[in-house]
Symmetry: C2
Subunit: 125 residues, 2 copies
Amino acid sequence: MHVSPNPSLTRSALPGILHATLAGSKHGLQGLSVWTQILEAGSATPPHRHDCEEVVLCSGGRGELRIGERSLPFGADSTVTIPRNALHQIVNVGVEPLRIVAIFSRSPVEAFFPDGQRIDLPWAS
Amino acid sequence: MHVSPNPSLTRSALPGILHATLAGSKHGLQGLSVWTQILEAGSATPPHRHDCEEVVLCSGGRGELRIGERSLPFGADSTVTIPRNALHQIVNVGVEPLRIVAIFSRSPVEAFFPDGQRIDLPWAS
């Protein structure tokens, strides 16, 4: 049982992505990781997948979830659900910072490029 | 893959607790449920436990996590982690609404009173 003030987001090695881990394996969790991120205007995650489920809560900005040929727009006060192993990309398509909380059904989180190569995530999860 | 605007919180059968389910089994998830709740001033959850991990994100108000004799205060921009099966109670100890997002490593979520009796949750999870 643990209470902690949310850490400040810090710039990551992924261009335009600021990150803080709110909860995960360092708090003893195995089945939950929670991150907060800002994607600056013009930035995007790489296309990737996880071997766990993901939920994204958006609190500001204008984003798109891209899956193959499909694009699903989302904005503040909306929720995105992504099934286990679904390839996806999150893109800031607006002019303001895209503010999200990303929630995963595993800790630590693993992420993979479309070719199956593991992504060396630049933060503890 | 699903994008949905967050539903409005509605008053539940639990006194002083407003609820909306943001993600869960109705979106095809098995390992994640995400709820948003407001606990009005003076209100609290019953003491309970879940057979899954829980993370609580607080965005406003003043709360306490009570576990047996222990009380852990929390407020806006803080995160609470609760291990699987840990008995706990969330109490609004302030004068403003306590605003939380509750995240679980299972969907649907099951909750139990301290004596082991299942709580008939008044919302879909």
